[in-house]
Symmetry: C2
Subunit: 159 residues, 2 copies
């Protein structure tokens, strides 16, 4: 089986996941301590499955949107117990809906912040165009920002 080194049965060392997701072994072990990850072992060494990798993704996504590890663990547990009994599913459903409401609020907050920044920007642009148009950031610089961001989407996400 030479071509089957990838695909679902694949496993990962702690270092590999860390490189891929730009985090540290210490962090992964910490998440494990807190019950967010439970990789298999061979001997003492941790062996991460594809599922573990997916969980790690969820963890990091959760962090980016401002969730605490404890909250993320809760969510992961709800996902885990998915297809448990009906009562648990109902509980999970309610929790998820609550989360959605909270997130939508967060999104509005961010939209609001963006708008404020935009108006601040146009004021500054206005001021500058009158006093020192030469200092106005060029279109090139703007492109640089956008490019950096788009590139970022193809790397393992930085912080």
């Amino acid at each position: 089986m030479p071509t089957e080194l990838r695909r679902p049965e694949r496993t990962f060392t702690i270092r590999q996941l860390c490189l891929e997701f730009k985090c540290t072994p210490r962090a992964l072990r910490f998440y494990e301590d807190k019950g967010l990850l439970k990789p298999a072992r061979q001997g003492l060494n941790r062996v991460y499955s594809y599922k573990d990798r997916a969980r790690l993704q969820l963890i990091l996504n959760g962090k980016r949107v401002g969730l605490a590890l404890a909250e993320i663990r809760e969510i992961l547990e709800l996902y885990d117990k998915g297809d448990g009994n009906a009562a648990q599913n109902a509980r999970a459903l309610r929790k998820f809906r609550e989360r959605i409401v909270v997130f939508e609020q967060k999104r509005e907050d961010i939209d609001h912040a963006i708008e404020e920044l935009r108006t601040a920007c146009s004021r500054l642009e206005d001021l500058l165009s009158r006093s020192r148009p030469d200092l106005l950031p060029s279109a090139e610089e703007y492109d640089k920002l956008v490019r950096a961001r788009v590139d970022g989407l193809h790397e393992a996400r930085p912080h």
Copy 2:
């Protein structure tokens, strides 16, 4: 001047601001320590102006969108130096634009999270509607969530 107890010359005690924004005196003093607020004094007592109040709003908004106090201070300082010299304005403009890019990324992250939650929800709804449709959250309950949220918009914002 009986009707002029409100309006721009108005000042606030620490307690008043805390009640209005649901935070604690300790927090305000902490922000002051960190250089985010600089209320006037009469004697030892802090006296907050309308401007100070506005700054506090910005601080709390900043926190809600996930900024650290240090970052918020930076932004406040940029706002302060607004209309300083042209070079500073140009610097501020660049910084603001960077922030906007970061926030837009954050917004995407949140949208993504919301979508994931939504699909999880519909899966659960599907499961429940097949096994135990009686456990499906009623339309009433959903309304409760929405109502709570809308009400929240008219109070001083909770966390």
